[in-house]
Amino acid sequence: MVLNVRRKPAAPPAPRYRQAAETISGKYGQHLVGPIAFEERALKLEADPAGLRELALALRDDPALGFNYLSCVSGVDMKDHIQVVYHVHSLANVLTAQLRVKLDRDNPVVDSLVPVWPGANWLERETYDLVGVQFAGHPDPRRILTDDDFVGHPLRKDYLPPAYRQHGSKA
């Protein structure tokens, strides 16, 4: 922690975020893990991996929420577990939510959200490619950025790049 940084005072979230949080925890609380946290312009939810797709569908289809725009899917290797973070926007209600699932590091499997947000297609493929998360029910579960015969997942923290390797070879 650096002390001489002049920190910006954290602004409280807008009231619409509190309303949305109440809706989510009231109606769909069974899919959540832990309480809902707030940022200035984001709701932070943590979902149960088993209930992720139901929660996502509910977030999209509930008229009070209407999270219809998936912005980003990020996989992070947290060393003891792997987390997948979805950032979704609700265009009509101007809300942003950060949806997180924590997965077992040795067998990271989670439901694909392509049926909910088709834009997740390549983002999930990328997450599979670089972090190694398996998305169950993905329509096209292939690598996307690296070669098809690439070994390993480069953004895992224990990934060691070979000292010298010819492009594409398995050695």
Binding site: A11, A14, P15, R16, N68, L91, A92, N93, V94
Partner: protein, 404 residues
């Protein structure tokens, strides 16, 4: 037949072919330079500049470019049909050279022979070059080449039809198919381009399509097909295609000058006839280059639709108009037009007056309606068109955040 006559005619033909070859090569050299220069000036660039002294504006670049092409390795793809790949440039160049035989340079001076069916000969022979393109596309064993070759055949055959149809009115007015006869008819009356501007424009558009120039350069569309049927050609074979393309352009421009712009007809007497032919030819050529620098490319269905649904009916209407008026309105009138220092005297058939009036009117309508003709549907105003249904609502984040 007399042996000396045969030999004499043969000799004339050989000389004519030599003239054609030298002319085509020289023309291609100058045009490849002029094409680049023209494009460069349109695009706010200098173009070739550093070959030779500055005052030549890079003209020697054309020679250097040719030498480079001749010295390049001649690559033949391993899977290509080698014989056809070898023959394709020849099949493309020969018809182009053959077409020069009948073109008139000046009065009583065709390149090789003053054929009495010169018009048909030129059109027929030059359309053979399509075969070379198809062969090039097929023999390369490359998918881009094949697509380019197929596009070229579809396009050239389609545009052959309105091209010929647009020439018919000129032949009808001259009463002959001989190219020098058509020019003579224009010398005694008036340039047909002034009487048949619509036919001239159709001919020009079809000429662009026949020579695969913008906006009809689909067979070698760089952005879709890399280089179309030319993809697998390099070195001297590519140079032959390159030269023949410019040669074909010269043929089309020469035809335009002959049929619509009075050929060798011009001031300062017959001695300057060849100069006038050249001047008119290169004036038309300038427009060719200008169009290239300006217009985007059409799509294949729009291209074909434009030929079959617009150009061919218009050309047919034009033919009917000339025939009907020529039969219905007899007689001639003498006209004297003062043009600066000289007076242009000619006799005009009476039917030419209503013909010219109708033709210019049709031209005006054609140009005015061109947008919807190219689109083949009424041009919409995209600014006002709400083509997309409003199904998504986006809230205003600044509305409830009063602090911002």
């Amino acid at each position: 037949m007399d042996l000396t006559l045969i030999l004499g005619q043969l000799g004339r033909l050989v000389i004519g072919l030599l003239i054609a070859i030298v002319f085509v090569i020289g023309s291609a050299l100058v045009l490849s330079w002029g094409d680049r220069k023209m494009l460069a000036y349109t695009q706010d660039r200098f173009g070739p500049l550093h070959s030779g002294p500055r005052w030549l504006q890079g003209l020697p670049f054309a020679i250097a470019d040719t030498l480079k092409l001749l010295l390049k390795e001649d690559v033949v793809p391993g899977e290509a049909d080698k014989i056809l790949h070898l023959l394709a440039p020849v099949m493309f160049v020969m018809p182009m050279l053959g077409a020069y035989v009948a073109l008139p340079l000046a009065n009583q001076f065709p390149v090789a022979a003053d054929l009495n069916v010169g018009l048909i000969f030129v059109v027929a022979v030059s359309s053979l070059s399509t075969l070379g393109v198809l062969t090039a596309g097929w023999s390369s064993n490359n998918k881009y080449s094949t697509l380019g070759g197929l596009r070229a055949v579809a396009q050239n055959i389609s545009y052959e039809v309105p091209l010929v149809l647009s020439l018919v009115p000129a032949a009808m007015m001259a009463g002959t198919l001989s190219l020098s006869g058509i020019v003579s008819a224009q010398v005694s009356t008036v340039w047909f381009g002034l009487l048949l501007p619509l036919a001239a424009l159709i001919f020009f558009i079809c000429g662009l399509a026949e020579t695969n120039r913008n906006p009809f350069d689909l067979p070698e569309a760089e952005n879709e097909l890399v280089a179309g049927y030319l993809t697998e050609f390099s070195g001297i074979r590519w140079a032959m295609f390159f030269m023949a393309e410019y040669g074909n352009m010269v043929v089309i421009c020469w035809m335009a000058a002959t049929l619509f712009l009075g050929g060798w007809h011009g001031p300062f007497g017959e001695g300057f006839g060849w100069l006038w032919t050249m001047a008119k030819l290169y004036a038309v050529m300038f427009v060719f280059l200008w169009v290239r620098a300006t217009l985007p490319r059409l799509r294949i269905d729009q291209l074909m639709g434009f030929a079959w649904k617009v150009l061919i009916p218009l050309a047919l209407v034009n033919i009917g108009l000339v025939g009907t008026l020529a039969v219905l309105v007899p007689g001639t009138i003498p006209v004297a037009l003062p043009l600066g220092i000289t007076v242009w005297q000619f006799t005009l058939p009476v039917y030419a007056l209503p013909l010219a009036a109708v033709n210019w009117a049709m031209l005006a309508i054609f140009v005015w309606k061109l947008p919807s003709l190219v689109l083949l549907r009424p041009a919409t105003k995209p600014e006002s068109a709400r083509a997309v249904k409003q199904t998504v609502v986006v809230g205003n984040p600044l509305a409830d955040a009063a602090g911002r």
